[in-house]
């Protein structure tokens, strides 16, 4: 607290262009020793770019550097490589784990910085023959873990650890580097369970007490309010708000982030209750009986489920319990067995084509792997299934012998959905890989909408996308359901989202349906179902 005059980190008028496209402009903020700054913003708001500048990532230099100054301890610094940044005391924990699975926590924490022992061979042949000083290594890694204040077994292999411990190992690695003063955490809680996230937040607080300044990037706004001193809200490459965390609340931050009002929960539930009344007594449109699906990590054992016509049914549950297996199995992407009856007709399993012909559609949770043609244009992505299944967007040539692709019709339909879903793109001929996660998700939805299905499976539609896009995606799903009368089954890990969007929510635990409740049921009941209590037990308790 002593040298108030020179803040630990200061950014002055920092700006960045990618090929003439301005992604950051006029970024100014300062950061004191031990301060925790929460950085929030929609995907594409410029958070990652800002952090890349701070961490000296190659991509910044390769695309022409940045404008403005970065100052550490009042001194102007220029980081050409991440090594420069590390030497200046900046540590970064990335969203994806960079750990070696077959190594222990200790080995990962001290990788390439191991304390070494000299012996006679290394005296002759040089340092490369030094031995590792194992006792010193465990001492150092234990010190780093202790500094973090969590319980991890330093001798446990990374591949045997739960996700949360992997995250802690990464942070411990940054802490074990001498002189780490600024720690950047890029969405560290995205993959954690609630309990693990709490432990991480506690660790952040402890680190800040030890004088380490932390930049904390997350989409979970309440976490920001719990641990941060200051909140920076970014939108379209600008810092739109810089306020102390104590003076704001989640709703306000969300509003600043998206630049528009997010509908309050109360309205939602009223609207939903009304809809639910209407839907009661509707006939069953899809009946799933004794379904099993062999999907690695998401095994479905014995699911029987009825879906009513015109409703939005939510399927929730903890990760790995089999909720994702249901749509993937029904749509034929993974080996499955059992019976699925849709509109009175039996659907053949293990055949994607049959499902699509029966007017079912599926938006996969695996956007990049299943959902998109990354190397092709938006037009192709959106029109492709409709073209192949329903022979839309085709012109007949040579008396019907040749089915010619109608590029004009494809461009038109793409434009329609780009406008409808507010997909941000330079034009409809842009490659899908160039879009941000949220916009890619919208393209996946547009693809399903273009099929004009009678029944839509949507799997994890909001995974990894920001609040604004999330609201839009959920709204357009609801709109699609209400206006076109399409039955929607939505699978999501976020219970709140399901309760806001769906009419009924089924919870899957251990590969079976543990219960179905109306969305208006209290969340404790859902919680009990998630851990495997059957519905009757839940209501008894």
């Amino acid at each position: 607290m002593g040298n108030e005059a020179a803040p630990l980190l200061e950014m002055r008028n920092v700006s960045k262009e990618f090929f003439g496209n301005k992604v950051l402009s006029d970024i100014n903020f300062t950061m004191k020793k031990g301060e925790v700054i929460g950085l929030v913003g929609e995907n594409g708001a410029g958070k990652s770019t800002l952090m890349k500048i701070l961490f000296g990532m190659d991509v910044i230099k390769a695309t022409g550097g940045y404008g403005g100054d970065v100052l550490i301890d009042g001194q102007k610094v220029i980081f050409n490589t991440p090594f420069d940044a590390i030497n200046a005391g900046i540590g970064m924990v990335h969203q994806e784990f960079s750990l070696i699975p077959g190594f222990t926590a200790t080995e990962n924490i001290l990788l390439n910085r191991e304390p070494q022992k000299h012996h006679f061979l290394s005296e002759i042949f040089g340092e490369r023959l030094n031995l590792l000083d194992r006792p010193e290594m465990s001492r150092q890694s234990e010190a780093a873990i202790k500094k973090l204040g969590v319980e991890i077994d330093p001798d446990m292999m990374i591949n045997q650890m739960p996700v949360g411990h992997k995250q802690f190992t990464e942070i411990a690695r940054e802490l074990s580097k001498t002189g780490t003063r600024i720690l950047i955490l890029d969405e560290p809680t995205a993959v954690l369970t609630e309990h693990e996230a709490e432990a991480l937040l506690a660790a952040i607080k402890r680190l800040s007490e030890q004088g380490i300044a932390i930049i904390f990037i997350t989409h979970r706004l309440h976490e920001i309010l719990t641990v941060c001193d200051q909140v920076l809200v970014m939108r379209d490459g600008l810092i739109v708000k810089d306020v102390p965390a104590g003076e704001t609340n989640v709703a306000q931050i969300a509003k600043w982030m998206v630049g528009r009002d997010v509908k309050s929960d109360a309205d939602e539930s009223r609207e939903k209750a009304a809809h639910l009344l209407k839907e009661e007594g509707k006939p069953v449109v899809m009946s799933i009986k004794r379904l099993w699906v062999d999907m690695p990590g998401e095994t479905v054992r014995d699911v029987s489920l009825d879906v009513n016509d015109g409703e939005i049914l939510g399927i929730g549950g903890l990760a790995g319990q089999g909720k994702l297996g249901i749509p993937n199995g029904v749509m034929g992407l993974y080996p499955a067995g059992g019976h699925v009856v849709f509109n009175g007709k039996e659907i053949k399993l293990n055949s994607p084509r049959e499902c699509l012909d029966a007017d079912l559609a599926f938006v996969s949770e695996d956007r990049r792997g299943v959902g998109l043609l990354l190397d092709e244009t938006l037009e192709w992505n959106i029109a492709f299934p409709a073209m192949q299944i329903h022979s839309k967007f085709l012109k007949k040539r040579l008396g019907g012998l040749v089915k010619w692709r109608d590029d004009k019709a494809i461009a038109n339909v793409t434009k329609k959905y780009v406008d409808m879903l507010e997909i941000k793109c330079t034009n409809t001929k842009q490659d899908a890989k160039e879009l941000s996660g949220g916009n890619q998700q919208k393209v996946c939805l547009a693809k399903a909408f273009a099929l004009e299905p009678k029944f839509l499976f949507v799997s994890e539609p909001t995974r990894g996308i920001d609040v604004g896009a999330k609201a839009l995606v959920l709204q357009s799903l609801k709109k699609f359901n209400r206006e076109s009368g399409v039955t929607v089954v939505m699978i999501s890990s976020e219970l709140e989202e399901l309760r806001q969007t769906c009419d009924r929510v089924a919870i899957i635990a251990n590969g079976v349906v543990s219960g179905i409740l109306p969305a208006t049921a209290p969340s404790e009941d859902f919680g009990l179902l998630m851990v495997g209590h059957k519905a009757e037990e839940a209501s008894n308790e």
Partner: protein, 361 residues
């Protein structure tokens, strides 16, 4: 005055932008090779090589090889990678050629019959090859290379054992077994390359042959614009996406392999009618790599290829391979053309393979 200049500079900027955009889309490697080729054409008259005849040679070789390069396109589109198994298609073509001569056709009908005979072989072999490639997804190019190797070796036996009788083709002293080189003179030599041929001094343009390629290239272009063609591209771009879109991925891949194999068969017939000889035994071996290189130099990647890639690539590759030896020869006044040709063509292949790029995953 200075203001005028400034305005001119400002006006020049968009032009520069356009040029930069063009270079980016055309690609530096292609531009450098093209400049090198142009410099060879400029150097040719200076060292005493006739410009007209060198251009004729280049056009001739372009026509001879272009269909073989076109044979790469379907498999690249369906994600089966570069067709290193092209010798399989060539073998189908050779079977067609020899059967046509055996049945005694001459002139244009002999060429048509060769195509006709080659087709069932290409379809059958291509189908088997496609089924095999479907079993080794991810390792197609390695397997394809060995399919090429083993089929060539197997056919080395068969050329000796098959009961061909035509005296133009069998070994003279024993009366059985095909010769390594068979002249197509009197059968279909020049049916395409001499058709509508234009001669202006030293320059001759094999119009018929280029026209034949143009027709095949147009059909390929049109196919890629149909429903099935679109599905093929999608399969190559992301097979899981295609599967989720209700496409039978394996079927589309087999179709692409059959198309590639058939084009390989037709390609070798076009090559032979211009070259004047059928080459049997080990020669199909040496046909795959130049074709692969040409399409890579033309700007194709492992998952993407277009007709312009084929045209530009074949012209650049064959241009360099034709021009370098003759120009170099005249400069150093020794007959080293064969050595230089081997160095240049293998150098180009090596360079092209380093340019291989793959899809985003």
């Amino acid at each position: 005055m200075s203001e005028d200049k400034a305005v001119a500079m400002n006006n020049g900027n968009p032009v520069m932008e356009k040029i930069r955009g063009f270079i980016k889309s055309f690609g530096w490697p292609r531009l450098i090779i093209a400049l090198f080729l142009i410099s060879l054409f400029i150097a040719a008259p200076i060292v005493g090589v006739n410009f007209g005849s060198s251009l004729s040679n280049t056009l001739m070789r372009f026509g001879m090889n272009s269909v073989l390069v076109l044979a790469m396109v379907p498999m690249i589109h369906s994600g089966c990678g570069l067709n290193f198994g092209l010798p399989l298609g060539i073998i189908a073509g050779l079977l067609g050629a020899t059967l046509s001569i055996e049945s005694g056709f001459t002139g244009v009908p002999s060429f048509l019959m060769a195509m006709l005979y080659a087709t069932p072989f290409a379809v059958l072999l291509g189908y088997g090859y496609g089924v095999l490639l479907n079993k080794v997804k991810g390792g197609e190019m390695m397997i394809a290379t060995y399919v090429g190797f083993s089929s060539v070796s197997f056919m080395c036996l068969m050329w000796l054992l098959l009961p061909y009788k035509s005296p133009t083709m069998v070994w003279g002293f024993e009366g059985k077994g095909l010769r390594t080189t068979i002249s197509v003179d009197g059968f279909y030599k020049g049916v395409l390359s001499d058709f509508l041929k234009i001669d202006i001094g030293h320059l001759s343009i094999p119009t018929g042959m280029i026209l034949f390629f143009a027709i095949l290239a147009f059909v390929m272009w049109a196919f890629l614009h149909t429903k099935t063609g679109t599905a093929m591209t999608a399969v190559g771009s992301n097979p899981t996406f295609a599967k989720a879109g209700g496409i039978n991925v394996d079927k589309i891949r087999i179709l692409s392999v059959v198309m590639s194999t058939w084009l390989g068969a037709i390609g070798i017939l076009v090559y032979e009618q211009a070259f004047g000889f059928i080459q049997l035994y080990m020669s199909p071996f040496n046909m795959a790599l130049p074709a692969v290189s040409a399409i890579l130099i033309g700007g194709a990647s492992v998952n993407k290829a277009s007709i312009p890639n084929v045209i530009i690539g074949t012209f650049l590759f064959q241009g360099i391979v034709t021009m370098t030896p003759s120009v170099m020869n005249s400069i150093i006044h020794t007959d080293m053309s064969e050595v230089i040709r081997i160095i240049v063509s293998n150098g180009m292949i090596l360079y092209a393979l380093t340019r291989k790029t793959e899809a985003t995953r």
